[in-house]
């Protein structure tokens, strides 16, 4: 589930310069790609099994919270890692999801599922409106504009009595009410795991599609993408909307798990935590982003030493990652595994060649076989 090496997956027949009859480059993307669905089901199943095994313990609550963050970071992989869209508005859309859920449930009597569907629609509309404006801005301007968003939305929430001011809104319903607290936590956790699986499948599907290739071209060089006929504004907007909607779903999950929404969710601190979850684990890896979210959420609540010094630890980890392996822990593992599999492949080739040679020697009774190729 790491960044798809599109060139490996797709069929590319690049022309050889000067070679007779070289065809124009054709880049086919498999229309019925089973990988996204498989990855989504796998992710949901593993997360659900882990949460079921924790049986409503405190650790289970922490992991479910991590799953909520993971839904957001999966979207950030597409936005920040894959498309290199430097937007820092995810905490704002988490707030849209969390506050939307809380308001609809506590003030308008919506059920948990109804409010989830409603906030997805709300996030879609809001992100389309904001995205239509902010995605016009070039790189640094987009980053600056979206840096300002958490600042003023946070202040808006803290001074708004309707949104519960500093104390926020409590009494948010869990997704799936069980017989007791433990059953409720497990069932809601499983539901959150399913949402994470869906998010994984959608993002992976986009990354492995023709649109994903266009995004990759844009990320590498916008002019190159434009010259290939990619509509930059449209693709930027689509990525922004998808990332924002997933952030809103993540926010709804967090609200449902914790039962309360406070303005802290909208603050720049949340945005910083999200960035660390993505960058330390691997900004181009969906698996890395999921694990990063769960592990960092666990670390921040595990021991008092770690929770007190989490800023220092995260900062040092980020600097080491940036210097040593910019693609994060997932990138380092990928490279390590790649080297290992390359070694295995080389050994296999050597062994195969030796076997072939022996076989030829055995059947033909001598000769080096060079002329038999």
């Amino acid at each position: 589930m790491t960044e798809p090496a599109a060139a490996d997956r797709s069929t590319i027949s690049a022309p050889v310069p000067g070679s007779p009859g070289s065809a124009p480059a054709v880049h086919r993307v498999r229309r019925r790609d089973p990988a996204p669905l498989g990855a989504g089901i796998f992710t949901a199943a593993v997360a659900a099994l882990v949460l079921a095994a924790m049986n409503g313990s405190y650790l289970g609550l922490t992991v479910t919270t991590g799953v909520g963050y993971a839904i957001v970071t999966v979207g950030m992989v597409l936005q920040l890692g894959y498309s290199r869209q430097l937007a820092f508005s995810q905490s704002v859309f988490m707030g849209v999801g969390a506050y939307g859920t809380a308001v609809l449930e506590t003030k308008y009597g919506f059920s948990a599922i109804e409010s989830l569907l409603a906030v997805i629609g709300l996030a879609l509309v809001v992100s389309l409106l904001i995205g239509a404006v902010v995605t016009r801005a070039p790189g640094l301007a987009l980053a600056l504009a979206t840096l300002l968003l958490p600042l003023f939305i946070y202040q808006l929430a803290t001074f708004s009595g309707w949104l519960g001011s500093f104390s926020g809104i409590s009494g948010v319903l869990p997704f799936w009410m069980g017989e007791d607290y433990t059953a409720t936590l497990v069932q809601s956790g499983v539901f959150s795991a399913v949402l994470l699986g869906i998010a994984t499948a959608i993002v992976l599907r986009v990354m492995r599609s023709g649109v994903g290739l266009q995004l990759m071209a844009m990320a590498a060089d916008e002019r190159l993408g434009e010259s290939l006929g990619v509509s930059l504004r449209q693709r930027r907007l689509e990525v922004f909307v998808l990332g924002s909607v997933l952030a809103a779903v993540g926010g709804a999950v967090l609200a449902s798990v914790q039962g309360i929404v406070t303005p802290n969710l909208l603050s720049e601190t949340t945005e910083i935590t999200l960035l660390l979850m993505v960058f330390v684990a691997g900004r181009k890896s969906i698996a890395g982003a999921i694990l990063g979210a769960v592990v960092i959420e666990y670390l921040t609540t595990s021991t008092s030493f770690i929770s007190t010094n989490i800023g220092t630890i995260e900062g040092i980890a980020l600097l080491i990652i940036l210097l040593v392996e910019p693609d994060g822990v997932a990138g380092a593992i990928d490279r390590l595994l790649g080297r290992r599999t390359d070694q295995w492949a080389a050994s296999l080739r050597t062994w195969g060649a030796a076997q072939l040679k022996t076989g030829r020697l055995g059947t033909r009774g001598g000769g080096n076989g060079a002329g038999n190729a």
């Binding site: 290199r84 070039p138 640094l140 504009a145 800023g311 980020l318 040593v324």
Partner: protein, 294 residues
């Protein structure tokens, strides 16, 4: 009229804070095209470090300032040696837009973490440099520390502007930002300029923290907000003009104060950020960047 003047003076004081951080960011960005998101944390260390050295360690005020500034300078040098030098001189690690933001973002996290572990979550303020009650002319009142803050911001902005515009060293520093390779070809040591200006702006931010902290007080979390507002002020100065960053910072501060006085004291920051957001989106050319055609 007196209300307007008082709001104006308060706005100039807070604007000077934005402006000086904008200037620090702009001058370093001009040299190496990287945003110093830790500049607010250096100010926080200046303020809290001096307060701690004087109040808890018992050092005299001047000695506390000297030790604190030396510590900030050393921290900046260490960061350059351990992170920036390998990244930008030896070509290791992340580059491009990630490098622009995230190296100093990592430093900011480390500085905050160290400050939290060392100084705790209390509010600290260095002793007054110019002690005494607020200066008053009729109904117009201004804090003495506020006058120092505005003065320091204006002097620093002018000095940085003059350095970049009128000195050979300043022009060489600017050349590094235009093209690192080109500047090296003509014999300019870009690493030296990057390091010196990084350390210099870190110390300047710390001085500012010491002068300003009697007014507002600092906690270990004060840094990021200062850096963020400084980034916005620097952005409006095209990230490259420190003098203009100070002027923009002063304007932002005055607008914020007037909004608070005449429109809403609760929503003044919301309105200010909304205005800045609108300017960035609809007039990105003021940032030295152009919008795409609609």
């Amino acid at each position: 009229m007196s209300q307007f003047l008082n709001l104006f003076a308060a706005g100039l004081t807070s604007g000077a804070i934005y402006g000086i951080f904008g200037a620090c960011l702009a001058v370093w960005f001009r040299v190496c095209n990287v945003l110093n998101l830790a500049v607010g944390d250096f100010a926080m260390f200046g303020a809290i470090g001096t307060a701690w050295l004087v109040q808890s360690a018992g050092l005299p005020f001047i000695a506390g300032i000297v030790v604190d500034l030396a510590g900030v300078g050393l921290a900046a040098w260490l960061f350059d040696w351990a992170v920036l030098h390998p990244a930008f001189d030896r070509g290791r690690g992340a580059h491009g837009i990630v490098g622009v933001f995230f190296y100093t973002f990592g430093l900011s996290l480390v500085l905050e973490g160290v400050a939290r572990a060392w100084f705790g979550g209390d509010v600290w303020g260095a002793p007054d440099i110019w002690s005494g009650s607020a200066l008053s002319v009729l109904d117009f009142h201004v804090q003495r520390a506020g006058i120092l803050v505005i003065g320091l911001a204006v002097v620093s902005g002018l000095a940085l502007w003059a350095y970049l515009r009128f000195t050979v060293s300043g022009r060489a520093a600017s050349a590094c930002g235009e093209s690192t390779l080109g500047s090296r070809i003509v014999g300019i040591d870009s690493a030296k300029f990057r390091r010196r200006i990084f350390i210099g702006t870190a110390v300047l931010a710390a001085v500012f923290g010491i002068v300003e902290s009697p007014l507002s007080g600092y906690t270990y979390l004060s840094g990021p907000t200062l850096s963020l507002i400084g980034t916005v002020a620097a952005g409006f100065a095209s990230f490259r003009r420190p003098g203009r960053a100070v002027a923009i910072g002063l304007v932002i501060g005055v607008v914020e104060s007037l909004l608070g006085g005449y429109v809403s004291s609760s929503y003044n920051d919301v309105l200010l950020y909304a205005i800045l957001f609108g300017v960035i989106i609809f007039r990105p050319e003021v940032l030295g960047l152009s919008a795409e055609p609609a």
